[in-house]
Symmetry: C2
Subunit: 468 residues, 2 copies
Amino acid sequence: MELKKNIYDLLKNIVGESYIFTDEETRNHYGHDETEDYVFPPSVVLKPANAKEISEILKVANEFYIPVTPIGARTGLSGGALCVQKGIGLSMERLNKIIEIDEKNLQVTVEPAVITQVLRETVLEKNLSYPVDPSSQGSCWIGGNVAENAGGARALKYGVTKDYVLNLEVVLPNGEIIWTGANTLKNSTGYNLTQLMVGSEGTLGVITKIVLKLIPANKHNVLLLVPFYKSTQACEAVSAIFRAGIVPSALEFMERDALEWTMRYVDGVSVPIKDKIQAHLLIEVDGNYPEILMQEAEKILEVVENYEIDEVLFADSEEQKNALWKMRRAVGEAVKSNSIYKEEDTVVPRYELPALLNGIKAIGIKYGFQSVCYGHAGDGNLHVNIIKGDLSDEKWNKEVPKGIREIFELTVALKGTLSGEHGIGYVQKNYMDIAFSKSHLELMESIKRVFDANHILNPGKIFPDEEV
Amino acid sequence: MELKKNIYDLLKNIVGESYIFTDEETRNHYGHDETEDYVFPPSVVLKPANAKEISEILKVANEFYIPVTPIGARTGLSGGALCVQKGIGLSMERLNKIIEIDEKNLQVTVEPAVITQVLRETVLEKNLSYPVDPSSQGSCWIGGNVAENAGGARALKYGVTKDYVLNLEVVLPNGEIIWTGANTLKNSTGYNLTQLMVGSEGTLGVITKIVLKLIPANKHNVLLLVPFYKSTQACEAVSAIFRAGIVPSALEFMERDALEWTMRYVDGVSVPIKDKIQAHLLIEVDGNYPEILMQEAEKILEVVENYEIDEVLFADSEEQKNALWKMRRAVGEAVKSNSIYKEEDTVVPRYELPALLNGIKAIGIKYGFQSVCYGHAGDGNLHVNIIKGDLSDEKWNKEVPKGIREIFELTVALKGTLSGEHGIGYVQKNYMDIAFSKSHLELMESIKRVFDANHILNPGKIFPDEEV
């Protein structure tokens, strides 16, 4: 799609000459996120200053049927920010302020392009916590977190992004600017458009301000790394810990390969892994009372000692804790650097994890692919990385998708679903029929049309190709 | 609306002769809930056995444009279950089973007509908690809680109904039965229809099964009753307690009148109230470690001692705790038994409570009405009871609604909204323009049409009269 001169001029008049780009380098730069090796450059990149300018841009786009794809930090793993139908790449980067930390009401109002970790650290200075911490928190933005309903390692205790979003300022495709709700903890006033917007992957509106709930920060935590001789026993232990009455603040699962590859990839992190160890659980409890945390850690030890484990590592300094977390957060990138791969973001009720893991391995054998699994086992969210390795392109493009389909079918059969925290975006959309009936998908598409009659906003996402 | 013979026969064939009623007594019985003194009998009462029958009923209703109002326990305070356009009153009472307590995944699957307290007590036997406890928990049903997104006294720490709903089985107005999501803690798979359905007050679909998240139950709690000489200082203390880093499990505010009327109304509850005491805070902390709770209670004492308070009552036995909670839960009924009244369910960010309370009293003086305020101050949710007393009918019907409008305008100006936990239903709908622009309301109405093109489901609710 080539941009016509008259439209270029209209857009330039809105954002100003310094914030409109059509050169190839810029378009390529904004044409990819972290999803496999896809590149879909937009026809033009715009960097608006505020909601008002975004409103004007959407009015033009709506009049001339130009696709608009909101672009955040481009750390997404489902291709939500890829400009698959070209058009306008709408970079949110200039909306990057923490507008107000409201200590009196434990809330923060923030623009979308604030790095999640920066937000977390800034509110922590006031002893407040925004506890949602995606593994990419050092580079992802809060706006993208809201758009994809991001989770992270602490979701099992603290919930996901949606559980903290109280209110959103949104620019609708017709240019109107609304607040979806109110800045209150309770709200039974009309339909919950706030929660409809969270996780809608930029297809219903452009988020320009976010009001988040904060909680008092916990002061202490204890971190354990437990090596298991059998992966499925590690998965079984996850559910057993909860049944012992403990809600850990993190409970992460890593297969042996994930850990070994990461140690090769990340400097300064090293954990001795004995022969025959198949998986590790990284377990954290947090709170304000160290003596209670030690009691809880001991209870956890009692639970995991029912399984075949090796010696448990207690992280006994902040440095060691940081190193372990750094390692865990780097798994995704380590896998990526190792081989071409596809990542699926499966989620099931947590007790079903062993069944899911066994099923994935069996499917891998059937279709001849290797997989590396890791993720937020405490909430049943397993990232399945399917490795190309030395598979032929033929096999990779024809056979592997059949295996992925079987993995998702298994996930849904276990009362889980396709994506726990990455979103459907571009790369999972053609599996949506596994989770939803045709009429259910049509219901979602009708909601899409209510917001975006001309289908300009982030087209080519969420809905299967044949459906739109 | 008279029911035609052919339609009666169609409906009778679906539910069976024992479960269709057109006699006046039954219609009147199902024609009211707890909202003021409204009675709107349906033309026919149906008591279907399951989702399949409800699906057949909705197909008939959709074909012949017959209004259908889902009816729960009829404990609602916004008129959500009133059959304001007659038609079918769809009593959910036979869908009353706890289907499965899934201890392995900390979930429960339940039908809508289970009493909330029964659900809570049943899962507690397994040391699990469903922590949402509306004041009417002894009689309300979980289905109505989901439909209205009910809150209650523990919402400040544990959240409201929406925070526990993982998945819903819903019969759509066209008769189709869908599950809205998956039984997982994380879900980024398409639009969040689960959360759109929660709080939609029976206008988008009929909820027939509910999957709720459970949490490990806390074993201990401490309860304090703090008398304040000034109501606004009681409100100020609410925010100060949170700022001291404590998240109480309940933080209830009661004006003097609320407490005095309740003591007259409820047997076996008596608290000495000194002259000049204007309000009380009922404060609870809970957890698993009694020594920690005592530390937190002491911190709370330090905070409230900064205000003009009288002697604090520590509830030192289960009996005393139960008596205090019984008293608190009876305030609504006590006010109701005292006079004709209107109840508004205002909610603001919690720090704004003193401003809200002062504003309400000033508006009362302006329009000449008395109000009694109480509620879940910890989450900024104040129930405003406007007392008819000896006001003339003329004043009650003409002037008081102007005052209510001003109260809601104040609420919205303070970044709050109309309803925290009761829903909009029938009695608040004509104030919706205060919270939402015309086009915002139109957006909600368009969503309504996506689900319910013929507008059969619970018509006359949520949307202002002129809008529909």
